[in-house]
Amino acid sequence: MRVAFPHMGSAPIALEGLLRVLGAEVVLPPKPTREITELGARLAPEMMCVPFKLTLGNMFRCLEAGADVLAYVSGSWSCRFGYYGRLQAQILRDEGFQFRLLELRHDRIPGIVREVLRLNRGRMSSAVLNSVRAFRIGWLKSTAVEEIESRFREALPNARDARGCCRLVDTLIQEVRTTSKPAALTRIRDTARARFDALPRNGRTRVLRVKLVGESFCVIEPFINFDIIARMGEMGVLVEPSLTSHRWIGFHGFRLNKGEVGRMRRLSAPYWRYCVGGEDQNSVGHLLLAAQRRFDGVIHVHPFGCMPGTVVQPTMAKAARDNNISYLPLSLDEHSSETGVVTRLEAFASLIEKRRRRHVV
């Protein structure tokens, strides 16, 4: 069994660790490139959202590399994300590939358990043992990556050498990727802060803070959002995403953080009553929370044509107006131009900088 799953941000690191310990062979999805995006866009329906096109191109390459099981988080709800697996499977089969589709959804749990048993040659005891070990490694890797990335976000606006800071985060993530020893993972996680603190600082005293909200894939995947976090970091702006790979796996994979979901629902209730997908309710909630916590601005990203992302836009704008916080909506797809997006980010950064100065003086 050679498993492949769609690429998103740094989620593959933890998932790869988990699946390897579980006994599966993993075909690692390639990092998205222009070429993969174009491949996906050629095969996908034109009006489909860009995460679909990117992951489709990704899965195509995985199948070429010999994967025979494709795993998708899936479900039946209002947003198109729930149908990615089924539709991509049909498109890829029409392209002549043969594989099994593994839908990870709450009503397919017996099937998933059977797969795990099969990996352990039908032995229940070793399946249980391996699952426990696998989830432990997956969780440790995930939390280590989360810690590294959040230290990186904080360090970057203050770093004298932004490149060096980016190099350090790559090194640390590579360390997490290559090790499978719990002790080593814990050590990497616990020393991350010290290693970023050791970087020379640029003496900046005032760091602007921006909340990044919107559709999960666009928030998490640096390829599609033109690495907003690093770019704004270099401009001296600390960008805090509402979702990270780690939190996404917690939210959507294991239904953790129920408390936060409830909190977002309560916060956004005057503006947005139903969660329809695309993190719409969380986006409204996080915008209001950011306003309460005196962030300098909110950036809202969504794929072009994203149904919840589009329909929530006027609400986001109204909530931002009512609560007096700067707001920048960005609609992204395979045709987005890097220059265009970066220009808007620069303009936004200088706008919130001016606004902050006016309020301080």
Binding site: P45, E46, M47, M48, C49, S76, W77, S78, C79, R80, G82, Y83, R86, L87, Q90, D94, Y271, W272, R273, Y274, V276, G277, G278, D280, F304, G305, C306, M307, P308, T310, V311, V312, Q313, P314, T315, A317, K318, S331
Partner: protein
């Protein structure tokens, strides 16, 4: 003095106007229907809405702008989900969020009557009764809903018979005397797009003018349920209707070609039309054309495409 309730001639009105009209008329309201979609409606909507929204939702906002100052209350349904067979079927995100969207776009609105049609919480009847609870005149809401739902049933039958939901707005059916011989083009699309000639630029008439007969199919509840039980079903209620219609047209409709009409940036349409397209071309070998409409669609361009498609079908048949 009877109070006036405004209903927009857009989106779900093409499904439920008979129900809404009877329900509010029975409760003693004056029902005010917005005018047919015109150039002005679309322009208003385009100005108010974010540019990426689909054309029918933009037009809906245009209808709200037209009607909101003439009425005491405005009907803004929230179509969330309904149960068919053993599963839940949803409205599209834009339908679920319609009241939120409208409130965010307009600063001043009349009182809003918002039935939340969420089968997980309440039955449709309770939702409608709840929606009018705080509006006075709730006595007889139960009876009003009973009559309304009977009217809706009759209206659905008539829609199927005439092949058009426009009778709800007082139009007579298109000329049924067209010869049955000749080319038959199956048409699949949301009624609120196909039958709103301000949005679809009269695409059905264009098929007729090109010398073919448009064939439409409105599935019964049983047919929709059969579709819902399939492994390949999509959990969007209104898409289920389209899938059932397309299946029927492809399997027994004796059609020469299939015309799929959708609006630009229709999210659900991207999935549904892809499935229908693949099944039509790969399984049934029926030529298929997909027309995407938005506020920039030119009538001449649309005409040329339909005409050449019908010409192609004619050549193929010979």
């Amino acid at each position: 003095m009877p109070r006036r309730i405004g209903i927009c001639r857009a989106l779900h009105a093409y499904h439920h106007y008979a129900l809404w009209h009877t329900f509010f008329a029975e409760l003693g309201w004056d029902v005010v229907l917005s005018s047919p979609t015109g150039r002005n409606t679309v322009e208003q909507g385009v100005r108010l809405a974010p540019s990426e929204l689909c054309l029918p939702v933009k037009a809906f906002l245009g209808h709200v702008a037209e009607i909101k100052d003439r009425v005491d209350a405005l009907l803004l349904p929230r179509v969330v989900c309904t149960r068919i067979a053993r599963d839940w079927f949803f409205g599209c995100p834009k339908a679920i969020a319609l009241p939120d969207l409208t409130r965010a776009v307009f600063d001043a609105l009349p009182v809003i009557v918002e039935p939340i049609l969420d089968g997980q919480l309440k039955t449709d009847e309770e939702s409608y009764r709840n929606a009018v609870k705080n509006m006075g005149s709730t006595a007889g809401a139960r009876r009003a809903y009973k009559r309304a739902s009977a009217a809706a049933g009759r209206s659905a039958l008539r829609t199927r018979r005439e092949g058009s939901p426009l009778h709800m707005f007082g139009y007579t059916a298109a000329d049924p005397t067209l010869p049955d011989a000749g080319l038959r083009v199956g048409v699949v699309g949301h009624p609120y797009l196909l039958f709103d000639s301000g949005l679809s630029l009269g695409v059905l008439d264009k098929v007729r003018q090109s010398g073919a007969r448009p064939v439409l199919f409105f599935p019964t509840a049983a047919e929709v349920e059969r579709e819902a039980r399939l492994e390949t079903a999509l959990n969007w209620y209104y898409e289920l209707e389209l899938l059932a219609a397309a299946r029927r047209l492809l399997e027994t409709g004796k059609i020469d070609g299939l015309l799929l009409v959708a609006s630009f940036a229709c999210g659900t349409g991207a999935v549904t039309n892809e499935l229908i397209h693949r099944s039509a071309v790969h399984t049934h070998h029926i030529p298929t054309i997909q027309v995407l409409l938005d506020e920039h669609t030119g009538e001449a361009g649309l005409h040329t495409r339909i005409e050449s498609f019908v010409d192609l079908l004619r050549l193929r048949k010979r």
